[in-house]
Amino acid sequence: MIPTDPQGRDEIAAEFVLGTLEAHDAVRVATAILTDADLARRVAGWEARLAPLADLATPEAPPPELWRRIEARLDPAPAPARARRWANPWKFGSFAGAALAAGLATFMLLRPAPAPQFMTVLLTDQAAPAWLVQADGAEIRLASLNTSPPPPDRVLELWALPQGAPAPTSLGLIPADGRITVRPTSIRPSPGMLIEITLEPPGGSPIGRPTGPIQFIGRLQPAVGS
C-alpha cells in the first residue's frame, strides 16, 4: 500500500529512488506515480536530489553491438521495402559494393593522402556506408562513398565533437563533389571524436551549432597499423 501520510509517502518515494524497495513495492510505486501527482512530485524531487550520485559510477563503454540490438528492438518487423531489397541480395550487394568501390577508388586516385591515423565510415540510417572520414593529428578528410545530394534548398554541414566537449564544432559545408579536407584550428582530431553531418539552410547553420537533422554520424577510431 502507498502510505497516506506525507512523511510515509516521502519515505517510500525516497526508497523507490534509492532502489531499496522490494520488487512488489517498487512496481506499486512505479504504477502509482502514473496517476498520483503528489507521489510523482515526491519521486521527482528525490531523483533531483540524488541524481549527482550517479556520476560516482565509473564510465564504461558498452558492447559494440548494443546499438544494433536497440534498433532491432525498435523495429521489430522489417519494413516491406527493406525486406524486398534483402530478398535479392545479389542485386543489392553488387550495387552497394560497386558504389563503395567506385567512391573509394575516386578518393584514392585524386588524393594520395598520407596514411591516416584515424578513420571512420559514416552510415546512413539504413546502416549503408555513406562517407569515408580519415584524419591525422591535424587534418580531417571526408569523401563521399555513395550519397544522394541534399534537397535543393539545403546544404550538408560537417561537424566534429571531441569527447567530453559540450558542443560540436563546424568543419564547414560539404561541396557538391562530396570531398572536403579541413584543418581545424580549435580542435585536434582524436580517437573517439564524433563526426556528424547535418542538413542545414543555405550558407550553413546560422547559429554555429547544428539546427537540422543529423544525416550521418560516426566516431573516429585508430586506423589499423598506425
Partner: protein
C-alpha cells in the same frame, strides 16, 4: 550552447521519432550510462540488457521529459538506474553475494570529492559528508551499486533493522540539509 540544452534538444527530437537524434544521444551518453548500469549489476551482459531496456523507454518516453524538473542527464540516468534495478530484482538480488568487484572506493570521501566537486553538486556533497559514515555508505551502496537493505547490512556488518532505520534517517537528514 551547453551540454544540458544540447541533450534537451536531442530529447525533443527523439520525442518526434527522430532516429538519428536517438543515435546521437546514444553516442553521447552510452559510456556514462553503461557505467551507471554496470555499477548496479556488476555484469556486462546484464548491464547491456539494462541499457537496451532503458533506450527503448527513452525512445518511448522522451516526450515526457520536462526540463523544469531537472537536467536531461539526470532524467536519462534515472531511467537507466530503474531498468538496472528491475533486472537486479528479477535476478534475485536478495541472494547475498560477496562480490570482490564491489569496491569501497566510491564511498571514500576523496571519491566523493572528485566526482561531486562541481559547483552544482557541492551542497549534496557537503550534506553527505555531514552524515554519519555508515549512513552515508548505506545510501551510496544502495544508490550507486543497487544493494538491497539486506546486502547493505551484510556489507557493513550491521543488523538489517539497523540498516533500514539508518538509511531512512540518512535520507531524512539529506532532505533537511538540501532544503
Amino acid at each position: 550552447m551547453n551540454a544540458t540544452s544540447d541533450l534537451s534538444a536531442l530529447l525533443q527530437r527523439v520525442a518526434r521519432g527522430d532516429r538519428a537524434a536517438l543515435r546521437m544521444l546514444y553516442e553521447h551518453q552510452s559510456v556514462r550510462l553503461f557505467g551507471v548500469a554496470n555499477a548496479i549489476l556488476r555484469n556486462r551482459d546484464a548491464a547491456a540488457d539494462a541499457l537496451q531496456d532503458a533506450f527503448i523507454k527513452i525512445a518511448q518516453r522522451a516526450g515526457q521529459f520536462d526540463p523544469a524538473r531537472g537536467p536531461a542527464s539526470a532524467w536519462l540516468a534515472a531511467i537507466v538506474r530503474h531498468a538496472a534495478l528491475d533486472i537486479a530484482r528479477a535476478r534475485g538480488r536478495e541472494i547475498l553475494s560477496d562480490d570482490p568487484a564491489l569496491g569501497d572506493q566510491p564511498v571514500a570521501p576523496e571519491a566523493l570529492e572528485a566526482a561531486l566537486g562541481r559547483a552544482q553538486t557541492e551542497q549534496l556533497r557537503a550534506c553527505l559528508e555531514a552524515l554519519e559514515q555508515k549512513n552515508r555508505q548505506g545510501i551510496l551502496l544502495a544508490f550507486v551499486h543497487g544493494l538491497s537493505h539486506a546486502q547493505v547490512a551484510q556489507k557493513l556488518d550491521l543488523p538489517l533493522g539497523t540498516v533500514k532505520a539508518w538509511i531512512r534517517r540518512g535520507l531524512l537528514r539529506l532532505r533537511e540539509c538540501l532544503a
